[in-house]
């Protein structure tokens, strides 16, 4: 017994499951910068944070709207300069820690007039 074989193709009517996915492009901006209004790029000068993966010449993505909580890497304004450090809260004291054994932690006092400028969210560098 012969069974008929369909030769004609189905006319353009079947949607491809790939169609829905086509508009989804990967956008680095929205991935890295959820708060563009308060986010700025800064350039690193120096080696005190290498153990955190932050090297001289790297690009930092810094968000001013985030809370500078314990263990976060922040940009701080100290002695007239912007500096990048890790926050360390110990009992009642606040320290700004380097990430390099050749540098010293800084204990923060009221008189020093410290201002936290923003929180570092990503560090960018070419390899």
């Amino acid at each position: 017994m012969l069974i008929p074989l369909f030769v004609s193709r189905v006319a353009a009517g079947f949607p491809s499951p790939a169609d829905e996915a086509i508009d989804q492009k990967l956008d680095l901006n929205s991935y890295l910068i959820p708060h563009p209004i308060s986010t700025f790029f800064l350039r690193v000068e120096g080696h005190s944070m290498i153990n955190a993966g932050i090297h001289d010449g790297d690009l930092l993505i810094v968000d001013r709207s985030l809370e500078p909580s314990d263990h976060k890497i922040v940009v701080a304004a100290l002695h007239g300069e912007l500096t990048v450090k890790r926050v360390h809260k110990k009992q009642n004291a606040l320290y700004l820690m380097p990430e390099n054994k050749d540098f010293q932690p800084i204990r923060i006092t009221e008189e020093m007039g410290l201002t936290i400028w923003g929180v570092v969210t990503h560090v960018i560098h070419a390899v």
Partner: protein, 424 residues
């Protein structure tokens, strides 16, 4: 309820964001060509330096106080201003951008009851958010009308012990505030009207508010009446949320040094035309009226204003054609031997692309080749800015360009000029 958010010493504040060395220090920002002082920090205001003062007149005093001086950094200020407006939009979709550093917000009267807050609280939250996100200090005025919100901000700025937020809702509060405000400081009353008002015994904003409405109407037309109504707490000036259609586009600049050669004037003019045309095309407009103006001589010894205009039968947006017409205008008034200080172009009688009328002899309008060329030019220049494409007529060395001796880095718009952070 209207909120007016006004950035304090905006250009100075922008300079301070990325440079902690400027915090609590005297700072001034100069106009393009470093001529006049257009922004002063609080420390400089205390020295008695007036707004718009010629820099050379105050240079010695400012130097004595170790003042930091900056040329205008418009890319930076523009970017921060944009972020400022975006921050305000978090609080209300109804925002009117009044100027580069001021905006009105409109909030529904039932906002506080539905959110269980006070207007003062909300004003404070706006202030804190702008400070936190951008590092820009602002003054907030809250009132039932735009004019009163302006009054509220004036008072916040004058009062050193203010929290930065001024609320004018209670009639007794309003009247007390108006009693302390001179008429000249009312928004919408220019120096011309203030002279007339003072001559008629109207000294304060309160006097103005209490004047007979008929008298105000007669002396100051409907605009004066609106201002009076607003001061009485009745809103008649709406939020303008759409930029009104441009009637003209001007591009001009004072020279860095005196210019005497016609070729330099032509070069400068070509640059201004290119810029103005790009702005015009960005709004899908064409021009039917080109005016070229220049200033020669000096303020002290008598200067001359020169100008020439041309009216077009067919609207244009093609840069080379407009440049040629602008040069023809220059030819009409150029005099050998004059010391030129400034040149500019105005493109007027602007008409939207879709309304533009054909020329009887043009086969296709708009000419597709010319349109495509301009489109590409604008696209490239949008990406590359100053390093983009220019016509040879705009010159290469440009010796006439304005001085910007001490401009700070373009911190937020140039990869090469990012702010530095020390890891030391």
């Amino acid at each position: 309820m209207y909120f007016l958010i006004d950035c304090n010493n905006f250009f100075v504040s922008c300079e301070r964001v990325f440079n902690p060395k400027l915090w609590n220090q005297p700072v001034v920002v100069l106009s393009s060509n470093d001529g006049c002082i257009v922004a002063r920090s609080a420390e400089v205001k205390e020295l008695g330096v007036p707004m718009g003062a010629p820099f050379f007149e105050w240079r010695t005093l400012l130097q004595k106080h170790n003042t930091h001086v900056f040329s205008s950094n418009f890319r930076l200020y523009g970017d921060i201003s944009h972020r400022f407006i975006q921050t305000l939009r978090q609080f209300s979709p109804e925002v009117e951008v009044y100027s580069i550093d001021e905006a009105f917000l409109l909030l529904r009267d039932d906002f506080i009851s539905t959110h269980n807050r006070t207007w003062q609280d909300l004003g404070e939250e706006i202030r804190q958010t702008v400070w936190r996100w951008l590092g820009i200090p602002v003054s907030v005025g809250i009132a039932p009308t735009k004019t009163l919100a302006k009054v509220a901000v004036e008072l916040v700025k004058k009062n050193k012990s203010s929290t930065g937020v001024g609320v004018l809702i209670e009639p007794t509060e309003i009247n007390r505030a108006l009693g302390h405000l001179p008429v000249a400081a009312i928004w919408g009353v220019g120096w011309r009207y203030s002279k007339m008002l003072l001559a008629n015994g109207v000294m304060t904003a309160l006097d103005f508010k209490n004047q007979s409405p008929d008298w105000i109407r007669k002396k100051m037309t409907v605009f004066g009446s609106r201002t009076q109504t607003e001061l009485c707490g009745v809103s008649c000036l709406d939020l303008q949320d759409v930029e009104p259609p441009r009637k003209s586009i001007v591009c001009s600049q004072s020279f860095g040094r005196v210019v005497t050669h016609k070729q330099d004037l032509q070069e400068a003019l070509a640059n201004h035309v290119a810029k103005a045309c790009a702005k015009m095309r960005a709004r899908d407009l064409l021009t039917r009226y080109i005016s070229v103006f220049a200033y020669a001589g000096s303020h002290q010894f008598g200067g001359e204003s020169l100008a020439s205009v041309v009216s077009l039968s067919v609207p244009l947006d093609f840069t080379p054609e407009i440049t040629r017409l602008a040069w023809a205008c220059l030819d009409k008034f150029f005099k050998q031997g004059l010391r030129y200080k400034k040149i500019g172009v105005m493109l007027g009688d602007l008409v939207p692309l879709q309304n533009a009328q054909y020329d009887l002899f043009e086969t296709e309008f708009p000419n597709p080749k010319k349109s495509e060329l301009m489109r590409l030019l604008d696209q490239v220049n949008q990406k590359w800015g100053d390093k983009g494409l220019q016509y040879a007529a705009q010159g290469f060395k440009k010796p006439w360009q304005a001085k910007t001796k001490t401009r700070s880095p373009e911190y937020t718009t140039s990869w090469a000029e990012l702010p530095k952070v020390k890891a030391r």
